[in-house]
């Protein structure tokens, strides 16, 4: 056991950030305008393609029977459809159902990526802020374009909510503009930080198990504690995977409501 403690004291460093490294599986570099553009096929791209394939396969195979009284797989597919369609009708109203494919695709893609990231030796696509920020930016751009297309300049009524006295407008309008502009950042940061923090915690507790088990028989008994925490954290991460996908979808739906009915 003393040898084990000596090992720990020598400072074999724990590097939980290593799991987030992007590894190019098929390096592709294209010279363009004097620079070398890197469009390699990375582990992130592989997981994204896997998420899309898993989703398409599950939905088509589950609905292939198309029985009136659904079996188990068809139930899951129908429940996911109804879950999102009810959510859109509650938040964005019936005219929000025009954008159901967009919101459903967001929900299912994020859910599949999160769930695939929980498998051993896998990679969490959403743990890179550029991915989540790109998706959030796409949502906010859609909101702005839809808002201006439907209401023209009346979309700007969003920043002057009804019921505010005229002598407060000088304060309210900048606050509303800032809180609108922060939406893509908060939307992307929420998903990114949840995925990053979750997987970091899983890695750190797993390294505790290994570190303690290296301390001899007493250490192996002691390693049961971080092992139990790892199991509990994995369950929590499963919940967070569903929750964060749902939160992204419901917030996109709420922002869409602002585009469809500006002025609260």
């Amino acid at each position: 056991m003393l040898a084990g403690i000596a090992n720990l004291a020598r400072g074999v460093a724990m590097d939980p950030m290593h799991q987030f490294q992007i590894r190019p599986l098929i390096p592709i570099r294209i010279p363009m305008a004097g620079h070398l553009i890197d469009i390699s096929f990375t582990n992130s791209s592989l997981l994204m393609i896997a998420a899309v394939l898993v989703t398409i396969l599950f939905l088509t195979l589950a609905m292939s029977g198309r029985t009136l009284v659904p079996g188990r797989a068809q139930s899951v597919a129908e429940i996911s459809y109804e879950f999102i369609s009810n959510m859109i009708r509650d938040t964005a109203g019936p005219e929000g159902m025009r954008y159901f494919p967009f919101i459903y695709a967001l929900f299912v893609f994020i859910l599949a990526c999160n769930l695939l990231g929980l498998l051993p030796f896998s990679f969490t696509v959403m743990s890179h802020i550029i991915v989540t920020f790109a998706m959030a930016l796409a949502v906010i751009l859609a909101v702005v374009v839809i808002g201006f297309a439907r209401h023209g300049l009346g979309f700007l009524k969003l920043f002057a909510p009804s019921g505010v006295p005229w002598w407060l407008m000088w304060l309210i309008i900048p606050i509303e503009v800032m809180s609108f502009l922060i939406r893509p950042f908060s939307l992307g940061l929420r998903l990114f930080a949840n995925m990053l923090a979750g997987h970091l915690i899983l890695d750190v507790f797993a390294s505790f198990v290994i570190g303690l088990a290296g301390l001899g028989t007493l250490g192996i008994i002691g390693a049961l504690a971080p092992f139990g925490v790892s199991v509990a954290m994995s369950a929590l991460e499963l919940l967070v995977a569903f929750l964060q996908a749902y939160v992204f979808a419901i917030l996109s739906s709420i922002y869409l409501r602002d585009a469809l009915h500006p002025g609260h």
């Binding site: 950030m17 509650d90 940061l189 930080a193 949840n194 923090a197 749902y246 939160v247």
Partner: protein, 79 residues
């Protein structure tokens, strides 16, 4: 103490201090869910309708706790 060592010391201290932000976020999340439970026990029929608002409120409050821990992780591992 040289600048390198002082920087590392300051980073670890800063990471610890950044974790205090989670206290506020935790209290806020507790308040939201507590209010939802209180109201749901008084009016169980309307509780399911407000579930969407509950999750939305939880999400926007959690952001601030997450921002705190991201600052801590940035200080520890990326800066």
């Amino acid at each position: 103490m040289d600048v390198q060592a002082a920087t590392v010391l300051a980073k670890y201290l800063g990471a610890g201090m950044a974790c205090l932000a989670m206290a506020g976020a935790a209290i806020g999340i507790g308040i939201i869910f507590g209010n939802y439970l209180q109201a749901a026990i008084r009016n169980p029929a309307a509780a399911q309708q407000q579930f969407g608002n509950l999750i939305f409120g939880f999400a926007v409050t959690e952001v601030f706790g997450i921002v705190g821990i991201v600052v801590a992780f940035l200080l520890l591992f990326a800066l």
